[in-house]
Amino acid sequence: MTPRGLLHLLTAYGAVLALCSLLLFWCVRVDRSRVPRGPVLISIWQHGERKARVAATDESSAVRALLAEAAEPGATRVVEQIVDSAPVLPLGRLIFAASIAPARDGVSATYQGRTAYLTPDDLLKLEAYEAVLDYGQLGISLGANADKVLGPLAAELGTNADELFRHATFRRFCVERSSHYPKELGAADVSLDVVRGSVLNAARYLLHNQKRDGSFRYEVNAMTGDDEPGYNFPRHAGATYFLARTANQLHDSKLFRAAQSAAVYLKDSQTLRCGAHSCVGEGDTVDVGASALALLAYVELINGGAAEYHDAALDLAGFLRAQQRSDGDFQHIYSVAEQHPVDVQLEYYTGEAAFALSRVQRISGDARDLEASRHALSFLVQRPVLFLGGHYFWGPEHWTCQVLDDLWQRAPDRAALRFCLNWQANNRVLQYGALADRPGIEGGLSRGPFLSPRLTPLASRMEAAVATLSVARQAGVEPAELATLGAEIKSGLAFLLRYQYTPGPAYLMPDPRAVSGGFPGSLVDQHVRIDYPQHAGGALLRYWELEHAAKEQ
């Protein structure tokens, strides 16, 4: 190949590539900010099911549509106007699935002269967004589950999914809707009253979903009203801790009784012998996490006046200390069957154990608890000096900075404070600012471009962020850094508040009261697991405590 030939080839290649890219971009894009121009979709939802839908071509007929149905008891009339639409390229199911932006796009299918619509509400209800696409051996999570989308469209158009996919034409569309979820709430709206109300709602979610034996409905699917299988004792203990803390801080006796009931379940039904001490869990092996979080809950209950947890708390503290290694880390598993520690490490447990030991020391007065916690904190914040990546790669461990805060008056650790400030700086890189075409995600943490931000990873980071802010204020950190951290926290908390079920998209739910006050997993995951309100409520409560105390002073 001659230089001239190469130049010509690359020029032609570049021109064709640019042209194809532009054509593709203009073909698939929708303009979400334009004046709505499509048909108006009027839907009647009743008891979580769509009972009727009309697609009106003009606004005057839309105003009159389905008014009688809307007057029925329990019915909600939702109006969605299509703002813009674009074709879905007929290039197979992978492209079909990838063409639907999660939580934002609906899909229409036109088949034999008739058109059926699935709005974002429908797709949320179907739990069709962000399904894992199995493509060969690859599992890719993006867009929507093609089967869940095609089935209802095919049923509405009187055919089957395969026939519809082969012969229909599909369009993605965005809508402007009358629904008030997520709430229009920004960082400026994060007031102490709003935060306090939200914390109480989150705690009351747990209260209302507690069973007679003290356990909770573990994970409720808001879209079906059903329970998901499974139970997890660290999460049960974490929920108990949050209930007790909220009860103590906000002086709510009902919540305190619920926390006691949940703690009795742990103490009487889920406590085993692990060597010389007791531990929490079930089966042949237990983990340190359940015992650490149970200890946190017991300490809160003792602080609230339930002195009967004193001995149990000290016994759990002994178990945690016995699990600690010489480097400050913990052996995270204990074999109940063989009665010995198992030296493996799992995420979060070291931070949980360190936090629990710090908290219990205020009650036990035992210097060994303080030393164990201080040593663990020192271990947690060690970063290899010469490993460049150590400055840029951070995990989701969120207990460390709460340990820092709790220990600060007794064992201040400036290295840990720097660690926590740096971690929050990294979190700010992942935090969404204002996006013109997507205001609802401001303050959320990015999980990449194809996935919606989740609430709980943000909430747990906010727990740590508020703890860091508390210490940073005491340590005299630069005002500019305090202001940046404060702004990050308010933006993050606003994101959480925006999506709390107060009441949320109640018309999509068969039993909205069951999930009232809860926080969903994400914008598209409408499940409430017990740790979601625990972490979101925990972050909000920490913020309320910090700012309330500052206001009082």
Partner: protein, 139 residues
């Protein structure tokens, strides 16, 4: 003088093709999991062709220049196709996700920037050098 220069170029291309072939094969078949034929087949073709040309150039085998030409063309054509597909994917995702897809643009752009030196620039230089060799051999 010219012979010494050619020898140095052969060694340079041999070493570069060897490194590129090993990096590609290790990256795709050892690091990347799970197996995905859309990536595996072109990567295997490019990697094997580059390793073969590398060995032949460094060992001064008779068919070294032919192997280099095949490796360069395979890398160049498949490289252009891969870059084409990645850029089209970027345009598609930007169209679907709007501003929200900026992170994907950045990552895909980085991937393109990392690929281009190995799958476009290096084979293009090799093809230009082969052309010069052929024109010098002509009477």
């Amino acid at each position: 003088m010219a012979e010494a220069s050619d020898s140095r170029v052969r060694i340079a291309f041999g070493v570069l093709n060897g490194i590129a072939g090993v990096v590609l094969l290790v990256g795709v078949f050892v690091v990347a999991q799970p197996r995905f034929w859309v990536l595996d087949v072109p990567a295997a073709l490019i990697g094997v062709a580059q390793l073969a040309s590398s060995v032949s150039l460094l060992a001064r085998l008779r068919w070294a220049l032919r192997a280099l030409a095949i490796a360069a063309w395979v890398s160049f054509v498949l490289g252009l196709i891969i870059v084409f597909l990645i850029v089209l994917t970027m345009a598609f995702l930007r169209g679907i996700h709007g501003d929200y897809g900026v992170a994907a643009l950045a990552v895909s752009g980085l991937v393109v920037a990392l690929l281009v030196p190995y799958v476009v620039v290096l084979p293009a230089l090799e093809l230009l050098w082969l052309q010069r060799q052929r024109s010098e051999l002509r009477p």
